[in-house]
């Protein structure tokens, strides 16, 4: 019965819907002029919106007068500025209101608030975090006009995209290239999962499968054979992760990061176990290629976190990738001579090879559990 009553109450609005374009939805207009560490701002917010949030119409007569707005200026400034952050989250630029005015837009009167924000240093890239009204009206949009060095850019803030970063001072191309290259090197060196995966595949490169003796492995006879084995593995890994890194960075393919990170951990487990219980030997480059595809998605998420500049996407992509390769080559060039020198010793077989592979498999299993179950 109660459901029926509710239905009857709801009939009232099912009748042919007026399209939502009956009236302009809620927007605010934010202009930021960046000059060194100083940012001059102007923020136009509809009086209707402020009334809904703060109640401007003090006497409740349906008319908002200048006197009523004036009485609420402090409250308006506090409300709005608490929902706008300029600069990084750990060091936002403090903001001070300089002037309250009124302006008429095509859909009614707006409160105009002028302010000055002073950052600790001139920002190279300005983060803007905008959250005005999203809690009250998720269809609200913040329309930004950003001016710096005579250039103007636009941005739209929405409930799904409240935080955006704008690159201000364009670094010279070579500098950008070096920066992203550096990030690539750094990422492979600090990304233990990638290193361990690669090492797991490289550890057997100085050995050969032995079918005669009781031991399953024997030392590789020539450096040439070992060297080509390493080249095949590294090239396959590089090729594969370059492909998926590019596809992901260009937005052609996207995978959920939990899936990617778990699969990376799994790849390390399998590569390490393959040394203890060999399944694949000569075709390890195939493992490198297949799992390399997954590792590429991992690299891409790092690149995305760095904030990809749309205008120099290609530079960033190529430089980051080359950085990863360079970092990888350094690891290989340190590993290979040492491993080759030690290959015939029982120590190599026992400690780095068997013990190392076992430890890698254990660590990676822990990662797998953590990542897959979001612990």
């Amino acid at each position: 019965m109660s459901r029926w009553l509710l239905s009857v109450a709801l009939w009232a609005f099912v009748w042919p819907m007026m399209p939502a374009d009956a009236h302009k939805p809620s927007d605010s207009y934010l202009t930021l002029r960046v000059d060194g560490e100083r940012i001059e701002g102007q923020w136009d917010i509809a009086l209707r919106d402020l009334d809904f949030a703060l109640g401007l119409d003090a006497n409740g007569d349906g008319d908002i007068t200048w006197g009523e707005v004036k009485a609420k200026h402090t409250e308006i400034a506090a409300y709005a500025l608490a929902r706008l952050r300029l600069g990084p989250s750990n060091a936002p630029c403090p903001t001070q209101v300089s002037e309250h005015l009124i302006d008429d837009h095509s859909d009614g009167a707006y409160a105009v608030m002028r302010f000055v924000a002073t950052c600790a240093a001139a920002p190279k890239a300005l983060s803007v975090d905008y959250r005005l009204l999203f809690d009250l009206d998720p269809q609200h949009r913040g329309l930004l006009r950003l001016e710096y060095e005579g250039k103007t850019r636009a941005g739209i803030f929405s409930v799904d995209l409240p935080e955006q970063k704008f690159t201000l001072s364009e670094l010279p191309k070579w500098q950008q290239f070096l920066d992203y290259g550096n990030e690539g090197v750094w990422h492979i060196w600090t990304g233990f999962d990638h290193i361990l995966f690669l090492l797991s595949l490289l550890l057997p490169a100085v050995l050969v499968r032995s079918h005669t003796s009781g031991r399953r492995w024997a030392a590789a006879a020539s450096f040439r054979v070992t060297f080509w084995d390493v080249v095949k593995v590294v090239t396959a890994f590089t090729l594969a992760h370059s492909i998926t890194l590019s596809l992901a960075a260009l937005g052609v393919v996207t995978l959920p990061s939990r899936l990617v990170e778990s699969a990376i951990a799994l790849s390390v487990v399998l590569a390490a176990l393959n040394n203890l219980w060999p399944v694949v030997y000569e075709k390890r480059w195939v493992i490198a290629f297949c799992f390399g595809l997954i590792h590429g998605f991992g690299f891409a998420s790092v690149l995305a976190d760095l904030g990809l500049p749309q205008e120099s996407l290609l530079i960033a992509l190529v430089a980051f990738n080359l950085g990863v390769e360079l970092g990888q080559l350094v690891i290989v060039s340190v590993f290979l001579p040492i491993a080759f020198a030690l290959r015939a010793s029982a120590f190599y077989w026992r400690v780095p090879f068997t013990g190392g592979s076992g430890a890698i498999a254990l660590v990676a299993m822990l990662w797998l559990v953590q990542r897959a179950f979001n612990l």
Partner: protein, 393 residues
């Protein structure tokens, strides 16, 4: 696709215009100066809304408080013509907004909000979920029929209407069926049965009467039947202020070349874009000097809506470019993009007008195909399209 490209290109361009378009900010000198009028205050509806707000604010996680508030906001968006209320309704449903397993009541409300911002497929998906759970949910069936009718999916919509006879007051099922039959080659029968039902059926409340009479007015309009006026008047008596009805009535008056009556009807409705559009058309027909200001305001509002990346305005945007901007070449892409989303008689009409005026063979072929498929009876459209190919200029 066209819509996305159009939208992206114009969004960037118009953001600059929109943000910079306002006049210079000023400092008012008189405290008593009225800056903004808030419509709908001091009404029972507003007081009810306030009561629902404070009830829901105390326990926002309680759907039995949030749902009536969301419903009241949706109703307010209809009477005020202000889409802000749809945003408020969405916020009231905040906890359930993204939950695919939300309670039925929340899903129906969410679908209603989604379809109001032209997210028809998402709305239908929610309603499908409801009817899987509750096959006899009349509200969901009627809402889905309405959305599918707007999308031109008449066969599916008709099924929902047929089911309604078993679970809703008969008048609503009759209206549902008439809305579809009247655009699929059975307009005379639809008109007769609806007229009959409105006078004879019990439980014909004010809403049903207003809805039914509006539909009769629209059918009569398409059939060039002067009875349209009588129906629109009856609907106005039953509905009070309703934005959709005002728009439909104004369109009929414009086709009757009675612009003075449109001005009288709409001169205080300039806040609502869709109605300002009709007012501007009437002012232009009358060569009134106010037309220029109305056109300028509309242009600024369309720019502002492009700036925020909206695509819900395309029908009005096409009509604006065609009839007020005298620019059918600009109107055609909007009309085509709109046609991908909505397929009501008004949508096919503006597409036909733009296609004929620009000699667009592909657009014209789409119109003819639709008319042949649906057997839509629409006098003004028949005259426009004729029986031949794209008329040479």
């Amino acid at each position: 696709m066209i819509g996305a490209v159009l939208c992206c290109a114009s969004a960037i361009a118009s953001l600059f215009i929109a943000v910079g378009a306002s006049a210079a900010p000023y400092l008012p000198t008189d405290d008593a100066q009225v800056l903004e009028h808030l419509p709908g205050r001091n009404t029972t509806q507003y007081r009810e809304l306030k009561a629902l707000q404070s009830a829901a604010a105390r326990q926002p996680e309680d759907l039995s408080r949030a749902a009536p508030l969301a419903a009241a906001y949706i109703r307010a968006s209809r009477t005020e013509g202000d889409p802000r209320f749809l945003g408020y309704a969405q916020a009231a449903l905040g906890l359930w907004w993204k939950d695919p397993n939300a309670p039925t009541q929340a899903l129906v409300l969410r679908a209603t909000i989604l379809q109001s911002s032209h997210q028809f497929d998402a709305a239908v998906a929610d309603l499908d979920r409801v009817s899987q759970r509750e096959p006899r949910n009349a509200q969901a069936a009627l809402t889905r029929a309405t959305v599918l009718t707007v999308q031109g999916k008449y066969a599916q919509a008709r099924k929902d209407c047929d089911h309604l006879f078993a679970m809703a007051p008969q008048i609503y099922a009759t209206i549902c069926v008439a809305a579809i039959d009247s655009v699929t080659g059975k307009s005379a029968a639809a008109y007769e049965s609806l007229q009959q039902a409105l006078t004879s059926l019990p439980r014909t409340d004010g809403t049903a009467l207003a809805w039914g009479e509006t539909l009769l007015g629209e059918i009569a309009h398409r059939r060039n039947d002067p009875a349209a006026e009588r129906h629109f008047r009856a609907a106005m008596n039953a509905a009070g202020r309703d934005i959709y009805l005002l728009g439909a009535y104004a369109d009929w008056l414009l086709d009757q070349r009675r612009p003075a009556d449109v001005v009288a009807l709409l001169q205080n409705e300039t806040r609502v874009d869709a109605l300002l559009l009709r007012l501007a058309l009437a002012q232009k027909m009358l060569n009134r000097p106010e037309a220029a200001a109305s056109i300028e305001t509309l242009r600024a509002r369309f720019d502002a809506s492009h700036a925020r990346g909206d695509t819900v305005h395309q029908r009005e945007n096409a009509r604006f470019e065609f009839a007020l901007g005298n620019d059918p070449r600009s109107a055609l892409p909007y009309a085509l993009a709109n046609w991908q989303v909505q397929r009501e008689p008004a949508d096919i009409r503006i597409l036909a007008e733009a296609a004929v005026a620009t000699n667009d063979v592909a657009g014209f072929a789409q119109v003819k195909r639709w008319l042949a498929e649906t057997r839509l009876e629409y006098g003004a459209l028949t005259v426009l399209v004729g029986s031949g190919e794209v008329p040479a200029k």
